[in-house]
């Protein structure tokens, strides 16, 4: 009889779809820009300032008795050009604030805010966050904004990602090596294969990276494929082919030479680059006794273990503990038998 066909959506696609939806939920509104009243903006008292000029100095005038009087006058003059441009076309780049009660605390854009006041505006375009962001959050926001920009080179994207990952590592108190592609996918809201490609390229050797830096290799998938090649010769020819414009398919066929070689060579210990190495199989758990019973009964059908059946004949199938114990024994016996 012909084999029954099962049509399944691939794991990679499933993960990609799921991550996309979850990123949309988690980060919805994160990059929103709204016009907010300049009156509601305040400086963050925890942030050191470069300028002496305050909002009040602009609205109420600078007090002659102010010890910083001269400096403030100069600062105000230096803002005039920006204020003129704001008056004509508004600010080009929105400022960034976070909500603090019914006020907004400034994260970035002090000069733009001051210039807007000076220009006589009442409102300013701002990116609004719900709470004070940490460094990780700020680099993530940059990432979310930049992925849409097409003019970012692969190298720039990698550098961005490296920044995010090191903030993430600090944040989670782990080392960079502990961050898995799954973490990256979740962080960036990208698919697992995409995240794996990033991981591979971040770990690439200096030669490959130097070609990426000067934008000779621009494509993430191709770079990841090359990064995975073990043999130096094959890698070198793949790099050359890539720079001459080889397609991904062509590069794949080059990289298979690598695989062919590997089986011939006296295989050295392979470095573990992707995920954790697994040396055991976890058979999982179930609450359903009939399921456990079905598994055990099926195993006992095997001709090599017929002699074990008698041990199970008086097993109490209502007792989880007893079943666990019996199953462990069964596993141990099977391991010894080397089935």
């Amino acid at each position: 009889m012909a084999k029954k066909k099962v049509f399944q959506i691939s794991n990679a696609l499933t993960e990609g779809l799921e991550e996309t939806v979850s990123a949309a939920h988690n980060y919805s509104g994160e990059l929103r820009v709204e016009a907010i009243s300049l009156k509601k903006i305040e400086l963050d008292p925890e942030n050191p300032r470069d300028m002496a000029l305050t909002f009040e100095d602009l609205t109420q005038g600078i007090d002659k008795a102010d010890p910083d009087y001269q400096r403030k006058i100069e600062e105000r003059t230096s803002l005039q050009t920006l204020a003129n441009s704001v008056r004509e076309q508004g600010i080009i780049n929105p400022i960034m604030v976070y909500k603090q009660g019914d006020k907004y605390r400034l994260i970035a854009g002090e000069r733009r805010t001051l210039a807007s006041i000076l220009a006589g505006k009442t409102e300013v375009q701002a990116k609004i966050l719900d709470s004070k962001p940490d460094e990780l959050k700020i680099s993530l926001l940059q990432w979310m904004e930049n992925v849409e920009r097409k003019d970012l080179s692969l190298w720039e994207r990698l550098m961005n990602l490296e920044k995010i990952l090191s903030s993430y590592a600090t944040h989670k108190k782990v080392t960079l090596q502990d961050i898995t592609p799954t973490d990256i996918g979740r962080l960036l809201g990208c698919s697992l294969p995409h995240a794996m490609n990033f991981t591979a390229v971040l770990q690439a050797d200096a030669t490959l990276k130097s070609h990426i830096r000067v934008n000779k290799i621009k494509n993430l998938e191709k770079a990841a494929l090359i990064a995975g090649i073990q043999s130096d010769d094959v890698k070198q020819s793949a790099i050359e082919a890539c720079m001459e414009g080889a397609t991904l398919k062509k590069l794949k066929s080059i990289s298979t030479q690598d695989k062919a070689k590997k089986t011939l060579a006296v295989s050295p210990a392979l470095p573990i680059t992707r995920g954790r190495q697994m040396t055991l199989v976890n058979l999982g758990t179930t609450k359903k006794i009939p399921v456990a019973r079905l598994i055990i009964d099926s195993v006992l059908q095997h001709e090599k273990v017929t002699h074990l059946r008698k041990h199970f004949s008086d097993l109490n199938w209502a007792d989880y503990k007893a079943i666990n114990h019996a199953f462990k024994q069964l596993l141990l016996t099977l391991e010894k038998l080397e089935v």
């Binding site: 066909k5 099962v6 049509f7 399944q8 959506i9 696609l13 499933t14 990609g16 779809l17 799921e18 996309t20 939806v21 979850s22 990123a23 949309a24 939920h25 980060y27 919805s28 509104g29 994160e30 990059l31 929103r32 820009v33 709204e34 979310m144 992925v147 849409e148 920009r149 097409k150 003019d151 809201g189 698919s191």
Partner: protein, 298 residues
Amino acid sequence: MTKIIVNATHKGGEGKTTNSIMLAEYCALVKKYKTLIIDMDPQANFSGRYIQMEYDPAYRGGKIPAIHPDYESNVDSEWDGRSSIANIFYGEEVVPYPTSIPNLELLPAHSHKLQEAEAVTKNEVLEKVHLQLKRFLELPDVRDSYDIIIIDTPPSKGPLTIAAVKAASHIVIPAQMEQFSIEGIYGMLQLWKQESYYRTKNNPIDLIGILPNQVRDIKLHKQFLEGLKMMKGVSDYVMPRVIKKRAIYTEILVEDANPKSIFELPPHNVARLEYESACQYIMERVFSHGKEKSISNQ
């Protein structure tokens, strides 16, 4: 506020145009909403259903809308008598066309002009193309004239589709239950995700969902549909309606079809019931959401 539904997915042949047609006619014929339809696809199939499209003498294979019925050559010296949605990218005036269906007006495609907008790569220009449709549809004149706007898009993820998504309040992804179609869904979900980053609570982009289309009673389709419904999070976006593959959906599009619309078939016709139910679901989602919002805002 006027709702804007975009039918999109970057794969062709999924049912974007079919679904745009069905929604448009449901809104205008059944619900009697003041409806504006917009064709962003250079292939101009959506436009061709409602007005005469002519071959572009300047670009082979391209289509342009026929002369507007309100055009009077001796009065309109500034205007050549044709108008398409592509005009918004050229700073030109846009004049909707009436259709034979009451309450239904059309802003047709113009193949060459839309292709030019789609081919833009320079960043500053690109940003303008992305935002232009949104700006146009935010004009009070446009908002006040219509209850609902339905947009058909080209089979791409390019500037025209992005512009439509940026203008949208709601997205529908028609999709066949087949391999490449699922990949098309992925691409669209990514556009939706990216756009949702920029939306405020008062102006969300609502994904109504994936509408399984051209479904047949075969294992492949059933299993892919089941697969989608099993996915975490994604399952909420698989519409609880399905459109089967039926010859009538294609036959009703021919020029001398009688009746002309699915919604003029007898009320118990299976195809009419099927698509009416899908449209009803979509429109309930579109308008109920608005109501919830306005109540919570008060």
